[in-house]
């Protein structure tokens, strides 16, 4: 009796184990595919709102030992000028360099791909380290790919101030040096990100990708240079600045869909949509339509993107008085606005004579025009009570930016 009682559940457990294994083993095991070996060199230029960003990126991706793939990229941005956020706080134009190193490795086993990665980004006032882990699985006859990603980021934030490098008063312009502000110290921000994605072949001509990301931040999530403004009748212009105060956490959810369709005359149409919401009460929608048309050695791309968001619940262009709320922000990125961008690109495919190990190579050029119209962020510097422009009556701010990219790609 005792043996039967013990043996019964054990036998049943074996049966369930076999059934469970059968359920998991839904497709015959074939081998997945790693990305092609690639090298890219990218030169980019951004100009808008009195700010310029010159960037260089190079990327290399190589397979080895049949099952491994390693990718490394390095990006350098040189930011110069003074954006509206800098100008309204009275700071002077600056030059700053940001460098990002990104390394990742993929391991392919059967139809499962494991990826680990590390990103290090350095600016004099912002250091960031990120680790990523992801797993993806091809299934149902390679019609479906399911992926899960976990990302952990540790950021250190400083505030730079100008200090005279010599004991001389007044300090010559050439002797000013930028140092960390000891009063501000070192602030930290930690971020965790959980991602889930599905790529699904719908038909012989259509493929769909759906991505969901939950991102949560904790720590100093404000910007040390930005400020909020409030009505101040004691000064001539009628307003003054106070430091921004943000909540200590922020959690966001974003879900995006991307459907790509192959047209009958060898061209591709791509429609993307993303919905975003976060604990700042921001909701946004992004829609992008792209079209790709090959012609002989050329491939032409055109895209249009529309973005709209409402304001964060603690944002205001003009607070009634100092310290009027627990949390205050005058950051235009948290205001209500909509943004359009249009892009055009051309790719020329060419061969390199006498270099047999390069399978194909392309030269690419792309231009994007970004236009953002803010609905409740005004150009604060336009205040002029003498001319009848009182605080809150300034023209609304708008951003017009040009983005140029030139890059070479090699497949080997």
């Amino acid at each position: 009796m005792g043996d039967r009682a013990r043996g019964g559940p054990r036998g049943c457990g074996r049966a369930w184990l076999i059934l469970a294994l059968c359920a998991l083993y839904s497709t015959p095991t074939l081998t997945g595919v790693l990305p092609e070996d690639t090298a890219e060199v990218l030169v980019d230029h951004y100009s808008g709102d009195d700010q310029k960003v010159e960037g260089r990126t190079w990327l290399i991706r190589k397979k080895f030992a049949d099952a491994f793939d390693v990718q490394y990229s390095r990006s350098t941005d040189v930011v110069s000028g003074a954006s509206v956020a800098v100008r309204i706080t009275g700071a002077s134009p600056y030059i700053e360099q940001r460098t990002e190193d990104n390394v990742s490795m993929q391991y392919l086993r059967g139809k499962t791909t494991y990826t680990v990665g590390f990103i290090h980004s350095y600016e004099p006032d912002y250091t960031s380290n990120t680790t990523t882990y992801s797993i993806s699985q091809d299934m149902f006859g390679d019609l479906t790919t399911v992926s899960m990603t976990y990302k952990r980021e540790w950021d250190a934030i400083f505030k730079m101030i100008k200090e005279c490098g010599v004991a001389q008063s007044p300090c010559p312009d050439s002797d000013f040096v930028k140092v960390h502000d000891p009063a501000f110290g070192r602030k930290q921000m930690d971020e965790r990100s959980y991602g889930f994605g599905v790529t699904q072949i719908l038909s012989r001509n259509a493929i769909l990708a759906i991505n969901y990301d939950l991102i949560t931040d904790e720590g100093f999530i404000s910007n040390p240079y930005r400020a909020a403004r409030y009505l101040d009748p004691t000064v001539a212009r009628g307003w003054s600045l106070e430091p921004e105060v943000y909540p200590g956490t922020r959690t966001s959810n974003a879900i995006g869909g991307d459907i790509k369709y192959y047209l009958p005359y060898r061209a591709a149409l791509d429609l993307q949509y993303r919905y975003y919401q976060d604990t700042f009460s921001i909701h946004s929608h992004t829609v992008q339509l792209s079209y790709t048309q090959p012609w002989r050695h050329w491939t032409f791309d055109a895209s249009a993107r529309y973005y709209v968001q409402n304001q964060a619940d603690f944002y205001s262009d003009l607070f009634p008085f100092a310290g009027s709320q627990n949390f205050v922000s005058g950051n235009q990125d948290l205001s209500a606005y909509h943004s359009y961008s249009f892009g055009l690109g051309a790719t020329y495919q060419f061969g390199i004579p006498h270099v047999s190990w390069i399978e194909r190579s392309t030269a690419n050029i792309r231009y994007d025009r970004l236009m953002t119209d803010y609905q409740n962020f005004r150009y604060w510097l336009a205040t002029d009570p003498a001319a009848g422009i009182n605080p809150g009556e300034e023209p609304l701010f708008s951003l017009r930016a040009n983005i140029y990219e030139f890059y070479l790609s090699l497949w080997f």
Binding site: V79, A85, E96, Y126, T130, G197, I207, A209, Y276, L370
Partner: protein
């Protein structure tokens, strides 16, 4: 009088028994449904699912113009440009780090 009480008592006991059987019946039905479902999934799992787009029918999907990310360096750069100027983040399958947002 005693007979009437006895009949009521018997009815009460039967009603109680029926009431106590109801959850058991529900659990049994759930167990049967779960077993049937698991067996159906398992049997489906043991026989490979037939892809409705066969590998030899994927020439259009394999065309480089159908890639979601033809130029990774360029798409990462544009994603960074947007993410530092707009509140939304994530949902695009891209990964980045750092700020560059002053």
């Amino acid at each position: 009088m005693f007979a009437l009480r006895a009949v009521r008592a018997v009815r009460a006991v039967r009603a109680g028994a029926r009431a106590s059987e109801r959850p058991q019946r529900g659990r049994r039905a759930l167990a049967v449904a779960l077993a049937a479902g698991s067996i159906a999934i398992a049997l489906a799992g043991c026989s490979p699912i037939e892809p409705w787009v066969k590998p030899y029918q994927r020439e259009h999907l394999a065309d480089p113009i159908m890639s979601f990310d033809r130029h990774p360096a360029s798409s990462a750069y544009l994603d960074h440009v947007y993410s530092v100027r707009q509140a939304a983040r994530g949902g695009t399958g891209a990964t980045g780090g750092g700020c560059g947002c002053n």
